[in-house]
């Protein structure tokens, strides 16, 4: 049937959903992942700094410089795994707390032609050709209406059957419309 919805779901975005969304979004918009490069430079800086501190540095100024090099190395080494993650979580929690109107309950219905969104402050029936991009993360599906406006659907709200229908639906989409992360 052409008009059978691929999914029809109602939900309230929780803080966890928003954090998952923030990670997916960060991954989607990040042009390059310098994880390996950061780790290599980090390990080299720590090794050079510790070695020079123990065997080269003679005066206090030189020792301060080597300590700074070790700290920079540690920063680069843990940037992606600890610092970036903590910053994303903190930023998401802050945004979630300060923008309650964006986190209200929604009903989202996806059909083969339209994405219909309904909440107490928004009603939209948007043709799929007007959707900028559909991004699927581990826990969320994001429908980008443009670069900054989006509709977030947590995967936990979809039944198995709806998830299967969505998987088959996205396989028919053109490559520039859909991205799986």
């Amino acid at each position: 049937m052409q008009n059978t919805p691929i999914f029809d779901t109602s939900y309230l975005i929780t803080e966890d959903d928003y954090i998952h969304f923030a990670f997916t979004q960060r991954k989607f918009f990040r042009k390059r992942d310098n994880r390996v490069l950061f780790k290599i430079i980090g390990i080299l800086s720590v090794c050079i700094g510790v070695g020079a501190y123990l065997f080269v540095g003679s005066n206090i100024y030189q020792k301060i410089c080597w300590c700074a090099l070790v700290l920079i190395g540690l920063f680069l080494l843990f940037y992606y795994d600890v610092i970036d993650v903590s910053l994303t979580v903190a930023e998401s929690k802050r945004y979630y707390a300060h923008n309650p109107k964006s986190m209200i309950a929604k009903q989202v219905v996806l059909t083969k032609e339209n994405l219909s969104i309904r909440s107490e402050i928004y009603e939209g029936n948007i043709p799929l050709r007007y959707i900028f991009k559909i991004v699927e993360g581990k826990n969320t599906i994001i429908f980008y209406l443009d670069q900054i406006n989006y509709c977030l659907v947590p995967k936990r709200t979809l039944s198995e059957e709806q998830t299967e229908r969505f998987e088959s639906f996205i396989s028919d989409l053109p490559e520039n419309k859909y991205k799986k992360l």
Binding site: I121, Y122, E123, N125, I126, R129, D146, Q147, N149
Partner: protein, 189 residues
């Protein structure tokens, strides 16, 4: 809710059309108030003070750059940071605004705006949304637009003055000024 109870007659009702120039300019102002450009003047001032200190040290060394390499590098870095905050960042924000506008099929659609005593409703052929004035954090009047920022759909509402009559412009400016008081400001550009 505002979407469901439209019994109240709107105070203002007009068609609005957003162009790429109006949106990118509004996004630049949004970035200054809420984004990365927030506080760009004082950040640039800090770099300017460091820059002056570096210049003073270089002056004492009769501008022999090789004798104080740290100050020379500091001078270059701080000068770049001043340019970054005062010139590059606003340009980047404007360009990002253009990018958003181009990526959206809905922003360019003509919309109808209804303004009530406690909020507004914007409606185009595909969507309808409302915002309450209590969620508005800033109201800015420029030569060509009225711009509202806040926690509502799309975060930015741009009202083009070209879509308003002269009398309506005056009345709407007075209404916003009275409604938002300290959140209301006039800017050039």
């Amino acid at each position: 809710m505002l979407l469901d109870s439209q019994k109240e007659k709107p105070l203002f009702e007009f068609e609005n059309k957003m162009t790429i120039m109006l949106y990118s300019n509004a996004y630049r102002l949004y970035d200054i108030r809420k984004g990365r450009s927030n506080g760009k003047e004082w950040k640039a001032s800090v770099f300017f003070i460091i820059d002056m200190a570096m210049l003073f040290v270089l002056m004492t060394q009769h501008f022999v750059f090789s004798s104080v390499p740290v100050c020379t590098i500091g001078l270059i870095v701080c000068s770049y940071m001043i340019t970054y905050y005062l010139v590059l960042l606003p340009r980047m924000a404007r360009r990002y605004g253009e990018h958003i506008y181009k990526s959206s099929h809905l922003l360019s659609k003509p919309e109808k705006i209804h303004i009530y005593s406690n909020g507004f409703i914007r409606q185009n052929a595909y969507e309808k949304s409302c915002g309450f004035f209590s969620s508005v954090s800033d109201c800015i009047e420029t030569e060509k637009t009225f711009i509202l920022f806040g926690d509502f759909d799309k975060k930015i509402l741009v009202i083009s003055k070209e879509c308003l009559t002269d009398e309506m412009k005056v009345r709407l400016a007075a209404f916003f000024e009275n409604q938002f008081v300290r959140k209301y400001r006039k800017v050039r550009g």
